[in-house]
């Protein structure tokens, strides 16, 4: 079972899928059992067998018989061993990025970005990369559940329909509570539902709400929309508590836009970030100011005033002197920012994540004043995400309590966990006769409903999305449903009394609604096929009607000024923070994301209370002390983490942790901070006054990195903006060190990689991509504590300075593929050598695990299998579950205990590309091979290619002035090079 070779495995999987037999019966995809104990045991046996044979008592015994199971009927689609790629749409968050999913032998194993998508251009995020693992999550429901008992769909439909139709004419509402739905076809289905049940209402719910932004735009421009921000059109970007590179709105798209303006030298954009807790965005800003959430409004006002002064618009006379008191901090900085903004009218963009209407209105005014509307702020083709309406949710809870709701369908939302009044919501649920959850598992909300009608995973289902008006994208299933689940759309249709299967419905919708608008699309058949194949379609939509800014900004300013800045009474403010790993908590049971080190704190498996060094010193708190955070609505105990860059009087806590019904991996990890904030006048706050107290207990964190100073070593190198154009003075930097030995010539290729530290935001998509591609095991918090994390690619983080003003660097670090590799010389068994193509190759089946190579590696990128991390109940993660193992890449050996492993530049992809070139009888071309990390990167910071080809992109990049090698003076001659980070203090 353990030693099924890939071939037979593949075919069995295929069979299982084809014949619909439960996949759980499938064992490991290819794995190096034979480098493990079993193998040795078998060999001992056969050695015994031999000696018996030698004694003439019988022949040596054999390895267990292995089977090969071909498909009963040949499939033209699927050749065992040949991966297929299908375009689809990501369902990890409402950004709905275009994807291309790699399907091997009938099962999706790797998610990649869709280069055709005009929004993401092939980028992905960590959560998106990891979502393929959620497909194989053991915690998913195996089928519908009615009142706690597994039942058939027919039965549960009967129950539900009777209860729904019972009170036809019943005034009490039928409510669908869902996250933002970006799928036009699904929204159309809701109309059918509305027809069937006149009392139907659709309440949209977002854990991290932007209701205020839409409200502000309604007031300002007469359209309650989330604008489509265009960072690629901005020369000056000011972010106010909006982590748009990491988690805010559409991070993949924004990161790409942002980086395109950053790397364009000369025209380089200037990025200011004002935030309380250090975020991915803040850590990449040219200028970062630490301000408390309550200072956002005043800050915005002050900025408006400062800008107004410069653009001297008389209409703003009333503003002079408004905003922050002259003694306020950042006064100088504000002038600097205002200068920059004013200098670039029409190319300036100010965004804020604040959920306060007044603040949003002031920012809207700022953008209008700076001529951003229609340029950097697109209101006419707005974003269709974050449509959540907090007021309606609050209202819904009241109605439920009043008994005014007879049926509640929860789809993709989990309010019991992530609503500030989760408890109240739970109570309210009891008052609703019929409660249905479409969640894929029995989550916190699902635990309190009558009917669980599990939806497909997005890789199993059809669908479409329109994340930005006019930008459509299709979703198609990559695998037959693993369990007895049903698409949410189908469920709704069934209950609405017009059962149709999702695909037909989708196709009809596109034929009816979208095809006519697609100009010059030709007949629908072709259009449909092309769209499916391409995954994304651009179809211009009629512009949303907006008028010039007409909001009562003076009123907003007055509100803010009267409200004042920080309420003086309490000491601290709590700020909720979304992190790239946990996001809003929906992926909590995904071990890849739990073990993904946060790019800022580098912590895994849990959240912490981030405290400024000054505050920590004052309170006598050190990292690891368990502190109690108490707001007027709740309290939470968390380990403290001293975070340079943190605003002095703010404590930031990551959301998405502390779930109790997510599944084995996610339950009880960290603490849930949602209940600590409140809903004030219909808006969810992301911050609250909080008091801080020590419990005296200590907690053991699980950090992937413990030291953040570069100790004055030249590890992350920077150069001032424009410096890369100066010729002479940098010549010497490129003089190679003398070679002690005869120069070795490479074979046909010399694979190398270039990593642009200026483009890397630290978003960590590459880390998860690498983990997914290379079967990197999850080891769990305890092993991470022992610094035994297995990631082949890590993103080192360095800080310069301390306190609130810190400069921080992200540096992706993986095997540098040295041509003079220290690891190779010391390996006694030649388990690691340099290939003729310059790859530092690691041979697992030869490795005996002396760990000498790791000791001698100056980059410390080698990873040792301290335990058997696969099929070992001590490590109950995806590699232990028969279902979870289906995500393993059959083209990469699963390493057994006791062997060393590390990045091998995705050599399996190189081999594949070489083979394809061979089959097509052509030489390889630049770009034939993209490593997993490169493919995932939203900013294109990673470029892989052939250094033997002087014309390849990577060769050119590494020949450039910004190129350098880490620890070059050691003479290791790496094939992986870095491009220096550019520091710009001011726009040019």
């Amino acid at each position: 079972m353990n030693r099924r070779p890939a071939c037979e495995e593949a075919e069995t999987a295929a069979t299982a899928i084809a014949t619909g037999s439960p996949l759980v019966q499938i064992g490991l995809p290819t794995g190096t059992r034979s480098t493990g104990f079993e193998a040795s045991r078998r060999d001992v046996l056969s050695l015994m067998g031999f000696s018996l044979g030698a004694l003439g008592l019988g022949s040596g015994c054999r390895a267990p018989v292995q089977h090969a199971v071909p498909l009963p009927a040949a499939s033209t689609e699927m050749v065992p061993g040949v991966p297929n790629l299908y375009a689809t749409t990501c369902g990890a968050c409402s950004a709905s990025c275009g994807l291309v999913v790699k399907q091997r032998d009938g099962r999706p194993i790797k998610i990649e970005g869709n280069d055709a998508s005009p929004l993401t251009r092939g980028g992905t995020c960590a959560a998106g990369q990891a979502s393929v693992l959620s497909l194989y999550d053991d915690a998913r429901l195996r089928g519908p559940v009615w009142l706690g008992n597994p039942v058939s769909w027919e039965e549960i439909d009967r129950h539900i329909k009777t209860m729904l139709n019972a009170g036809s004419g019943d005034p009490r509402a039928v409510v669908l509570l869902s996250q933002t739905i970006t799928s036009p076809s699904a929204l159309a289905v809701l109309n059918d539902f509305r027809v069937a049940f006149p009392s139907f209402r659709h309440v949209v719910y977002d854990p991290m709400s932007l209701a205020a932004l839409r409200e502000a735009n309604r007031l300002a421009h007469g359209a309650a929309v989330v604008p489509h921000f265009r960072f690629d059109r901005a020369r000056v970007v000011v972010g106010l508590e909006a982590d748009f590179l990491g988690t805010w709105l559409a991070p993949v798209e924004f990161a790409r836009q942002w980086s395109r303006r950053r790397t364009a030298d000369g025209e380089r954009a200037f990025h200011v970030q004002c935030e309380s807790g250090m975020s991915v965005t803040g850590s990449n800003a040219d200028l970062r100011l630490a301000i408390a959430p309550s200072e956002l409004g005043p800050f915005a006002v002050a900025l408006l005033a400062a800008v107004a002064r410069r653009v001297s618009d008389d209409g703003l006379a009333g503003l002079r002197g408004a905003g922050l008191a002259p003694d306020a901090p950042h006064a100088a900085a504000i002038d600097r920012i205002a200068d920059a903004l004013a200098r670039h009218r029409g190319e300036a963009l100010v965004v804020t994540g604040s959920n306060d209407v007044a603040t949003q209105l002031v920012v809207a005014k700022l953008n209008a004043l700076l001529g951003g509307v229609g340029k950097t702020v697109d209101l006419e083709q707005p974003s269709l995400q974050r449509q959540g309406d907090d007021a309606q949710v609050a209202d819904l809870i009241q109605q439920m309590n009043r008994g005014a709701v007879r049926a509640l369908i929860v789809w993709g939302a989990n309010p019991v966990y992530d609503h500030p009044d989760g408890v109240a919501f739970t109570a309210a649920l009891k008052k609703v006769p019929l409660t249905i959850s479409l969640a894929d598992r029995r989550d916190e909300t699902g635990a309190h409903v009558r009917a669980l009608c599990p939806d497909h995973h997005f890789l199993e289902s059809w669908g479409d999305a329109e994340p930005v008006r006019g930008q459509f994208s299709l979703r198609q299933p990559l695998i037959a449903p693993l369990h007895d689940t049903r698409s949410g759309v189908e469920s709704l249709l069934v209950w609405a009394g017009r059962p149709t299967d999702h695909r037909t419905r989708l196709r009809d919708f596109w034929q009816r609604e979208l095809h006519p608008r697609a100009l010059g699309a030709g007949p629908f058949e072709g259009f449909w096929e092309r769209s499916l194949e391409r995954g994304v379609v651009e179809m211009p939509q009629p512009a949303v009607a907006v008028h010039a800014f007409a909001g009562d900004w003076q009123g907003a300013v007055r509100d803010i000024v009267t409200r004042g800045g920080r309420p003086p009474t309490e000491a601290y403010e709590l700020a909720l923070q979304e992190t790239v790993g946990a996001r809003d908590g929906r992926h909590a049971n995904n071990p890849w994301l739990q073990e993904l080190p946060d790019p800022i704190t580098r912590l895994t498996w849990g959240n912490v209370a981030c405290i400024a060094p000054a505050t920590a010193a004052a309170q006598g708190i050190t990292t690891g002390d368990v502190v109690t955070l108490t707001t007027e609505v709740g309290k939470l105990e968390l380990p403290a983490f001293v975070q340079p860059g943190q605003e002095r009087r703010t404590i930031s806590v990551a959301i998405g942790y502390g779930r109790w019904a997510a599944g084995k991996a996610g339950d009880g990890v960290g603490g849930n901070v949602f209940p600590l904030v409140r809903v004030e006048n219909g808006l969810r706050r992301a911050s609250a006054p909080v008091t801080l107290s020590k419990t005296g207990r200590r907690a053991r964190l699980a950090p992937a990195q413990t030291h953040f100073s570069m100790e004055g070593r030249d590890i992350v190198q920077t150069m001032a903006l424009g410096q890369d154009k100066h010729e002479a003075e940098h010549e010497h930097e490129h003089e190679a060190l003398p070679n002690l030995w005869r120069e070795r010539l490479h074979g046909a290729h010399a694979w190398g990689m270039s990593i642009d530290l200026d483009a890397c935001t630290g978003c960590s998509a590459c880390v998860v991509a690498c983990q997914a591609e290379n079967n990197v095991p999850v080891v769990g918090a305890e092993q991470v504590r022992k610094s035994r994390i297995m990631h082949w690619m890590r993103i080192d983080r360095y800080l310069e300075g301390d306190g609130e003003d810190v400069i921080s660097h992200h540096q992706p670090m993986m095997c540098q593929h040295c041509q003079h590799a220290p690891c190779e010389t010391v390996c006694p068994v030649l388990a690691t050598t340099t290939s003729s193509e310059g790859i530092n190759q690691q041979v697992y089946n030869r490795c005996i695990g002396t760990r000498y190579c790791a000791n001698n590696c100056p980059y410390k990128v080698r990873r040792f299998n301290w335990h058997n991390f696969t099929a070992n109940d001590d490590f109950p993660f995806n590699m232990t579950s028969p279902l979870g193992r289906l995500v393993l890449n059959p083209d990469v050996t699963v390493r057994s205990r006791g062997v060393m492993e590390k990045c091998n530049l995705c050599v399996q992809r190189i081999q594949l590309a070489k083979n394809q070139a061979l089959l097509q009888r052509r030489p390889m071309a630049d770009g034939d091979v993209a490593t997993a990390c490169q493919q995932a990167c939203p900013t294109g910071a990673i470029v892989f290619g052939d250094l033997a080809d002087a014309q390849s992109r990577v060769s050119k990049l590494l020949a450039g002035r910004r190129a350098y090698r880490v620890l070059e003076d050691l003479g290791t001659r790496p094939n992986v090079g870095y491009l220096k980070k550019i520091t710009s203090k001011e726009t040019t």
Binding site: S40, S787, M813, P822, G849, T850, R851, Y852, N856
Partner: protein, 462 residues
């Protein structure tokens, strides 16, 4: 046949021994027969309570070792405290420590033989035994520290195999180790056994038959004290000594290259070979001293292991200890003088970092302790010698620990810095190996002549 005790002094044919010998390496002037009986007595008499207590403790520790190694093989070295930053710690520390212990034995038996040092005669046998047992203990670690010990044979270049032209990497110090250690073990064993043949014959002839005689007959290979054999025998001993001397120097030099050839700050040092050899002899003599101080009492051999022996060893310890101290100083100087940022940081970290206490403990034990031996009274005082010998071994163990762990836990990239904390298995195996060593040694002193009779006879009657 006359086997009576004839007092030597009454024999006119021989000058009084005290005139022959400047220092007396044997108390009194026992007759040849007396020497035989004295040395054979531990093997023929029932073991005393002291022996049983020691043996009980030792074998308990040995059992613990077996248990833990079994668990280790079953679970993987994850049960140790090692991690991505610190890939070696107790395992290789113990390895280097035990190899070092071995060196004194060879040194005493070989080098002192070449220098015709008579005082070696009463201690060389047990010292060589110690060498062999120590090398066995050391050899354990390269095996069990592997991630996949069942594949350990990969490290030997053997033929035929399934991998065609794939051999081993002769550039790797670990492969050098394999050859150095196995050679060292083999040669030491041969040397030890050769030296024992005449005594085995003596025992054979004392044995009154039965299994004992049978075994000794096989081992003694028909030795009958023929002068023609004796003369060849002495030549062979000289040759083996001449071979063992450079060998012993090479072994620890090669072990030191495990570190010296790497580029880890604090490892990458040219001073290592001589420094390691000095340290090895140093710790080895420490261990010999510990053993002899115990055995001479428990086996009442004070007559043959005299204060003169102890003092001579104390002098060697003083010398080598000072050499080691000098090496420490040199390392720091070079770090400062090199101006290399990583090297400098390493030594600052060594003296002020989280493992600084190990460093100071090591300096205290290795550099300061032996200085008491400038005083003759200290060199001849049993308690002082005993305490010192223990401290020296503690110190030398920590020396290796400091070199290995401090070198690894904070090197080039600060992002990859880590800490090593030993687990119960690290410590258990450390103790267990002492159990293995002492069990073997205790069995040795019961089963074989722990002092070379024929050499004693030669010394006392020439």
């Amino acid at each position: 046949m006359s086997a009576g005790d004839i007092p030597i002094t009454t024999s006119p044919a021989v000058a009084p021994t005290d005139l022959v010998q400047p220092t007396r390496w044997i108390e009194g002037s026992p007759s040849l027969h007396r020497i035989t009986t004295d040395i054979a007595q531990p093997m023929e008499a029932r073991p005393g309570r002291g022996w049983w207590i020691c043996f009980g403790i030792a074998s308990a520790a040995l059992l613990n070792l077996l248990g833990m190694v079994t668990y280790l093989f079953a679970k993987g070295i994850g049960i140790w405290g090692l991690n991505n930053a610190v890939g070696w710690a107790f395992d290789i520390t113990n390895f280097v420590f035990w190899i070092g212990i071995g060196h004194a034995g060879t040194l005493i038996s070989a080098i002192l033989l070449l220098f015709r040092q008579k005082w070696r005669t009463s201690i060389n046998r047990s010292a060589e035994a110690m060498t062999i047992f120590a090398v066995m203990c050391a050899g354990l670690f390269p095996l069990i520290h592997m991630g996949r010990p069942w594949d350990c044979f990969f490290i030997f270049p053997y033929f035929p195999n399934q991998r065609g032209p794939l051999w081993v990497n002769f550039r790797s110090p670990l492969v050098w180790d394999v050859f150095a250690i196995s050679t060292y073990f083999t040669i030491s064993l041969v040397f030890w056994f050769m030296g024992m043949i005449p005594d085995l014959a003596t025992l054979r002839d004392r044995a009154v038959g039965g299994i004992k005689k049978f075994i000794f007959r096989i081992l003694s290979m028909g030795w009958n004290g023929s002068q023609r054999t004796w003369s060849r025998y002495e030549i062979v001993s000289l040759v083996l000594a001449a071979l063992a001397t450079p060998l012993v120097l090479s072994v620890h030099s090669i072990v030191s290259t495990d570190f010296a050839t790497s580029l880890v700050p604090g490892w990458h040092t040219t001073i290592f070979p001589p420094y390691f050899v000095a340290g090895a002899i140093y710790s080895g003599f420490g261990m010999v001293l510990t053993l002899l101080l115990i055995t001479r009492v428990t086996m009442n051999l004070q007559r043959y292991i005299t204060f003169n022996h102890l003092e001579a060893m104390a002098k060697v310890i003083l010398l080598t200890g000072s050499l080691v101290g000098y090496a420490y100083a040199t390392e720091f100087f070079n770090a400062w003088y090199s101006g290399n940022v990583h090297e400098r940081f390493h030594f600052i970290n060594r003296a002020t970092g989280p493992y600084a206490w190990c460093f100071y403990l090591m300096v205290l034990c290795n550099v300061l302790t032996p200085q008491v031996f400038w005083w003759k009274r200290a060199r001849r005082s049993i308690p002082v010698l005993f305490v010192a010998s223990i401290l020296i071994n503690v110190g030398m163990w920590f020396e290796r620990f400091v070199i290995i762990v401090v070198g690894l836990h904070r090197n080039f990239l600060p992002s990859a810095w880590g800490m090593f904390y030993p687990t119960v298995f690290d410590i258990g195996i450390l103790i267990g190996v002492f159990g293995l060593f002492f069990t073997l040694f205790l069995l040795f002193i019961r089963a074989l002549p722990m002092i070379a009779m024929w050499e004693i006879k030669g010394v006392s009657h020439d």
